[in-house]
Amino acid sequence: MKEPTPRETGDEALGFFRDHFGLDDRSLVSALDTALERQIDFADLFFEYSTQDSVSLEESIVKNGDRHIEQGVGVRAQIGERQGYAHSDDVTVESVKLAATTARAISAGAGGVSSVPVGSGTPTVHDLYPVATAPTDVPIERKVSLLSEIDIYARGLDPRVKQVMASAVSQHRNVLVVGSDGSLVGDVRPLVRLNVQVIVADASGQRREVGYQGMGGRFEFEKLLDPEAWKPLVAESVRVATLNLDAEACPAGAMDVVLGPGWPGILLHEAIGHGLEGDFNRKKTSAFSDRLGERVASKGVTVVDDGTIPGRRGSLNVDDEGTPTQRTVLIEDGILRGYLQDRLNARLMGVESTGNGRRESYAHLPMPRMTNTFMLAGEEDPDDVIRSVKRGIYAVSFGGGQVDITSGKFVFSANEAYKIEDGQLGAPLKGATLIGNGPDVLTRVSMIGNDLELDWGIGTCGKDGQGVPVGVGLPTLRVEELTVGGTEG
């Protein structure tokens, strides 16, 4: 296969919209000019054409296949802190102009800007997810047979497996961002995901448990078809489900917690990531507002948001405002260094966008959002971290989490955890919720493992009703005194 250059990645999207919707430079300019007839600081057009398909299995039958096509354009006008937004699923020059007329109504003043110089395409900096075959072009029959193989394999692993639910989701998005500053940036974004959930029952049939594992990212669907990739995924979901058949009630109260590597990085996402998004800090509604340069974590804690890791679920060549993604240091050796910015909040705070302006689709306004957020590795042997704890829990995997940005309180729910007594791992524990205070939880980090892992590519972050794919990562971490929400006093 020919490796496309970064320049070609952007051009591919541009060419797509030109061919598909007859959008030439002149029509783009005239649509932007419509927005700029009022006094506007910045306006942009966001075109999207997405194809998604999925197949799902339960009761050993691939019961459903689906395919969706979503197309549309969103027009945004900004003046000061105000934003006007209109979108349409009708991608024609007329409807784009109509949307521009609606969006610009946010401003009362007359404009006077002459025609926007739309370039021939701004080269993109990255090419993080080239694929030879769009995931949605992989024949559905191959996806169907993959799920059937997974079902047989899962049931063969353990006779206690009573139900297998699996799905494979493929997405292919073309986006094009045209800005009133003359920028014209395209991106073609593949995204794939495989999910396996099993329900197991003990011999009596009385006790049932569930196990889930997923994997995905921006890469060839072909990768998921490889048994070397999916077998460990299936085995993991069966392992967690059967393990929990013997789980004991979780203790309640404040205790030391060791977080396993990888997915427990949602601690960072919830506890500090959201609180460092530019919109909350511009409005001073975050518990982290005005705290740049202050100590917010123990020495040795360095947290970054990095949208530039090839093939990752949270990665992007450019954000949804056309800004190239980057690696942003949020916390450096315990000191708060940076916020995550989109164009609007960066402008209002007098800084540069960090390439974190993201939106769920053309039907949504961009906001500062995370990409892949993780803590850098420390030096401790993970086994030593566990051995150091007298009484506590070891939490390896989590369901989901949530944060209150303003008070800083965050929670996340463990679906694989163990008791630690005198440095030894004990019985598995039933689902426990951990709750803490974002601004101080990282000051309670006392040991950092040398084993940084990123998650399997399954995260979706929700904010203001918009979901976007994200990644997280963490080395094994010891946190002093987190509240564990179990039932045993």
Binding site: I69, R82, K409
Partner: protein, 453 residues
Amino acid sequence: MNAPDLLAVIDLALESVARAGADAADCVLVESDSVEARVRDAEIDFVKQARERTLGIRALVGGDRGKSSAITSTSDLSEAAVTRMASETVALARATAVDPSAGIPEDGFATDDPDLALYHEADRDVSVEARIEDARRAEAAARAVDPRIANSEGSAVGSDYSTIAIGNHAGFRGSYRSSSHSLFSEPLAHQNGSMQRDYWYTTARKLSDLESPDAVGRRAGERAIRRLGASRLSTCEAPVIFDPVTAPSLLGHIASCITGYAIYRESSFLAGRLGEQVASDLVTLIDDGRLPGGLGSKPFDGEGQPTRRTVAIDRGKLASYLLDSYSARKLGMQTTGSAARSAGSPPSVGTTNFWLEPGDASLEEIIADTGRGLLVTELIGMGFNPVTGDYSRGAAGLWIENGAISHPVEEITIAGSFGDMLTNIDAVGSDLLWRGRTAAPSVRISNMTIAGE
């Protein structure tokens, strides 16, 4: 588009799938027209307007051993796009496996046309500017509550006008229009360098049924102020009261455990317990898709079956599951008209208007009767496992001492077995609050584990 035009698109799609070889098919077309705006202090934050349409096509192919099925959706409603998607749906259906239970209802469709007061044309004349003014008033009212409210995440308004049309191969055609409006306010209170936020909102099918902007802002402001100075608790066991804001989440958990899908998959701790006492006899839960003006009301479900009243839990006894035609077929039961449907997905089971019947006591009386315990006013996190019934969620609220509110608390969790929680409900309030599809009055659970310091 008006309803006849939407139904014409459905006719075209149904003809096209039949021509492509489908044995059975149904289509859903959703059109919506919406506006949203948010204000912070007196300034507009954003105004957003949209018009969206999506057509969903479901096709089944097969023979005596069963059928295989697929679904497609598109926002391009041109004749060429619709006919192309129709044949893609059939091709996709041929690639999936035969399911002996697959099918689309052949009869039992809604034939009546009840007036559910879902749509109010006159409200379309209200300008965006007038709605933005409502948001400004809510914002001002929140800030007027107390000088310690000087910031906010804003106050927002929204209006949505939708038309839903459904048709199938068996001849059912139906459509209905609906409107909904909302007003939301989220102020921030600060004191001694710490901040708390809270919110209040109102939602209704008719603009004049919304709570006033002043009331929404004031309520939101009062809720934020009363959280100031919150502390943690020592880990303990105590009675827990859910207020009408947090109690509906308990109904959501119950709903997820009594859908036909959760039952036939045995992924619910309530599977197989029909007819058993699963909750305190104070608990009667009803789903009714035909409450006039209800935010969950609709004349027919996602398969064209008439909506109806279903008593899910009757004085503590599990009286009915919630079923669409597929899950009913799997369980050898009849549909309860509970098929939920979006254009792009197969039917699933959803609630319509789903509520807990109120009792006699006011929240104040329940608090006075409690002595010492927790009033939960906010829950965060997703700590509920429907398979096992394990429940553990983050909470914030007010501590009750000597039968009166003592002080705000936060950074705690409440946990228990959900089955025990339902059985241990020992008080149900009279304060049923409707502001969505799911509603509950205050509910007290006699004992839960509260984790804190």
